[in-house]
Symmetry: C2
Subunit: 195 residues, 2 copies
Amino acid sequence: MARTLEFDYDTTLDRATRLFWKSGYAGTSLRDLLKEMGIGESSFYNTLKSKKRAYLECLKHYNETVARKRSKVFLEAPTAALGVRALFKNMLESLDNPDTPSVICMMAGSLTHEVLDEAELREYIEGQISTLQDKMIARMNADKRDGLLAAGFEPQLVVPVVSTYMQGLWRMALVSYDRSRFEQQIEVFLTGLGL
Amino acid sequence: MARTLEFDYDTTLDRATRLFWKSGYAGTSLRDLLKEMGIGESSFYNTLKSKKRAYLECLKHYNETVARKRSKVFLEAPTAALGVRALFKNMLESLDNPDTPSVICMMAGSLTHEVLDEAELREYIEGQISTLQDKMIARMNADKRDGLLAAGFEPQLVVPVVSTYMQGLWRMALVSYDRSRFEQQIEVFLTGLGL
DNA sequence: TTCATTATGTATCGAGTGCTACAGATAGTC
DNA sequence: GACTATCTGTAGCACTCGATACATAATGAA
């Protein structure tokens, strides 16, 4: 009934995601984006509606790929404590991997001044963070019942701390990253919390 | 011998600082800046040299005022442990204070993608962070000798963790801030580290 | 006063911004 | 082929960006 899309949407979105991830929202111009995606303005505004919406779409795509793997890494570990450790290990591997677009997680990188003005984006990020936190809390509570975590250990209090600390690590990596130092401080952090 | 400045440099820089602090580097246009400062292009480029240099100058100004008070808050506490607690309290007060330009510390807010491309800025931030960390470590070591901190407590390992966690808190506050929740997780964090 | 020096206001630069209008190309339906 | 519907390339929109050119105004030393 009508003309078909000439480009593959998923591939294109993936490329856009890598660019946004690397340079952030403000640091990525529409021209850069189009060049990377290999499409023209018309195709862009036809599928995605604006730059802002495109960013949100890319962030969702990021979550369904990279971030999804992370939560899988956590959930598939034999215990919650090991799961948290696996999360940090995954983070360090990402930092060491030269193929990673940016030194910072796209979700973490999205927590900027600009976010405050974009309600939809902020709410999405907020939701994603709390969803992951809930998964971690649930898993820890299960471990607690199984006696894998101390009776005094309180997941709903500890998890936000872990989550917040990770945000900090992503940021710190921007200014100076040294694997062994990071491993060292992560160890201090985790043992302090009883993980 | 020559014409004198018609505006007060310090006042003007202070205004610029508050604007940069509030909206970030990319989020602040030169026009906004000039309007807030109450000067023209000529005066701006005569004293500060470029927008980038202006931002760095403002960040330094921020450190000499706001951040300086913070480190004072830490150093003047009776013990290092109380000093760290005072730091977090100061942070919460800043978050609660409606007169604070931004919900995020300007130093923390400067840790963005853009920073990576600006060597001078990055090095400055790096230096400031490690300077504060060194002060904290020194103070803790003194407390340790005085028996105010456990013998097993290792300042050079713990301080980076505290520093990183604070960065994370500033970021988290951007998306959702609740004082009592923050107090709660800070308490969990600190007691875990033995502070 | 003369003069060099610096400060300021105005106008504008060229480049880049996100975005849109519009004509033409491509598809399925009749 | 005619018709409708969607896609795409090109050109350009109105605007903002950071930065600059230049004439003019103020200052103090000679």
